[in-house]
Amino acid sequence: MDLPSSRIIAAAATLCLLSAAVLAQEGAQARRTTNAPPKPSGATPRTADGHPDLTGVWNALGDNLNGIPNQIANNGLAIESDTTTRDLHSGQLIATFPRNTTRPQNNEQAERAAALLRRVGSNKPVYKPEYWDTVKNFDHNSNEEDPSNNCMPAGIPRAGIPSYIGQTPTYLIFIYPGQGGLIATQTMYRMIPTDGRKHTPLQELDGTYTGEGIGHWEGDTLVVDTWGFTPNTWFDQIGGYTHGENMHVVERFRREGNTLTWTATVEDPDFLLEPWTTTPRVALLNPRPNALLPESLPCSERDLSHLVTKEHH
């Protein structure tokens, strides 16, 4: 075989391989282009008193604040296909573009994209006008201003779905592991009585990060009503959503099979023009019956002093 023929054969072989690779990649992309929450499977276990049993480790989707698909869904975008995305709050269609590259983004590109994606949804709490600039500036300067960036507890409802729930006939235990990295938060736990007791009058409570939460059942939905908060938290993962000590939070937990759906409604007549409800979040039960929560590493904030821009999560 002469040299030109070799080159032609080599080029042809390369083209064939490239074509096969492109088609394979396109096929792989087509299988993974939605962020739909997991569909429930299995029966919903019940306790002796007939209520759904929420007991379990609810971390099978991962608890990373940056997590995909959880995080985008949390902020209100349903990516239905590689060409269709819908804002869950407004119903507006969001322009969607099939991935046209398999090249990974570098850290800077990925962080900037994630920061935009977390904020693009329309489900935002509507503050009284005198707080509009405050909230905007808190988010703009969140590296310094975010109270949970300095190893403080995230608070409620920012902590979202607990990673562990233990249930007894008269109370539940919620555990929220801490997180390292730039969003460095402390581990939190809550004991939620379901024994029919009433709230302590608000003025008699010292504000805390988790407040005074009291649960009751509305059908198969666990409703946790909480007040008595410190104002030193933000009430969502992004956005600079500050609040006052009169904030009142109503969380709803509903188990279906191996999924747990959670929403929280925030009322704060001192700060908000109207109550605000989170976009529903869904957690998946850890499928291993002997699953345990890993130990949270001690929280130590070491990044802030090295930041040179205002780019943030």
């Binding site: 032609i8 993974r32 995909i68 590689d82 904020r119």
Partner: protein, 285 residues
């Protein structure tokens, strides 16, 4: 044997090239041009952080923005020095334009806030007026709704969003070597056609609007954008124009140099004051 292998591989290569070629030809230019324009502005992003097995598509990440600039605005036939502060959003469509005008004779500054959100337009005596009792006055200005929404949808991002939303009604052509998108607006702005010209970097440089009804002459505008850069303090890789000129016929309505443009979806809301809603409802009866 070698000859047979060579032929087989050549045939396979030609077939592979043909598949790619057919795909390329079947992809409408409109889709390519719109995507290129959206990507040039930095509107298309995806994130797979935290889940290596996920490959989500690109999404239009532009919702809220805020920019500030200075220049001149036409008022009663004169170019008046104006400080300009704009808050805007596309979900829902809304825009608040705060202008501080100084007369050519150095007279007292005039502070004006024009707001529109979805199907409502009003003027605010202060930011957020009319939402809390005793906090400013919101004056309905429904007659200005279309003009205000047109400003929103003729910004570069609005042009791309509206062209994408128009789907197959959007046509793409080449004029003077530059890609041109032509499409109809919808909703409250139905009956207006937009023609947008892209530069060699696929950035929107010129936007013309033409109402079907010649009587709506106030909706016939020409806007030019130039000097694109990421002007946010929080960097996003979203490009924004540094110079905006809006004309109507031979008049220059606006000539502004942009100082800052925050595109990190800042917290901006545009609730409609109850009295504005009530006035609009009363007028519609």
């Amino acid at each position: 044997m070698k000859t047979t292998i060579a032929r087989t591989l050549l045939i396979a290569a030609v077939a592979a090239l043909a598949v790619h070629s057919i795909r390329a030809q079947s992809a409408p230019d409109r889709v390519k041009v719109l995507r290129a324009a959206a990507e040039a502005l930095g509107m298309v992003r995806w994130s797979d952080i935290g889940a290596g097995t996920t490959r989500l598509p690109g999404i239009d990440v532009v919702n809220t923005m805020e920019f500030q600039g200075s220049g001149t605005v036409e008022s009663a036939g004169r170019a008046v020095k104006t400080q300009y502060h704009v808050a805007l959003g596309y979900n829902p469509p809304a825009m608040r334009v705060e202008m501080t005008r100084t007369g050519p004779d150095g007279g007292a500054a005039q502070h004006i806030i024009h707001t529109a959100s979805e199907n409502y337009a009003w003027d605010e005596s202060e930011i957020g007026a009319g939402l809390v009792p005793g906090k400013g006055t919101a004056t309905p200005a429904m007659a200005a709704l279309h003009e205000r929404l047109l400003e929103l949808w003729t910004l570069p991002y609005g042009v791309i969003k509206a062209a994408l939303a128009a789907g197959e009604k959007t046509t793409v052509s080449i004029e003077g070597g530059a890609p041109v998108m032509t499409f109809p607006l919808s909703g409250p702005l139905a009956g207006i056609t937009v023609k947008a010209t892209l530069d060699s970097n696929n950035l929107v440089t010129k936007v013309e609007t033409r109402p079907d009804n010649p009587a709506r002459v106030n909706l016939a505008t020409q806007t030019e954008y130039s000097s694109y850069a990421d002007r946010g303090e929080v960097l996003t890789d979203i490009k924004s124009p540094g110079h905006i000129i809006r004309r109507q016929g031979g008049r220059t309505l606006l000539d502004m140099e942009v100082k800052a443009w925050e595109s990190n979806n800042p917290y901006l809301v545009f609730p409609v004051p109850p009295n504005v809603k009530a006035a609009a409802t009363a007028n519609s009866r």
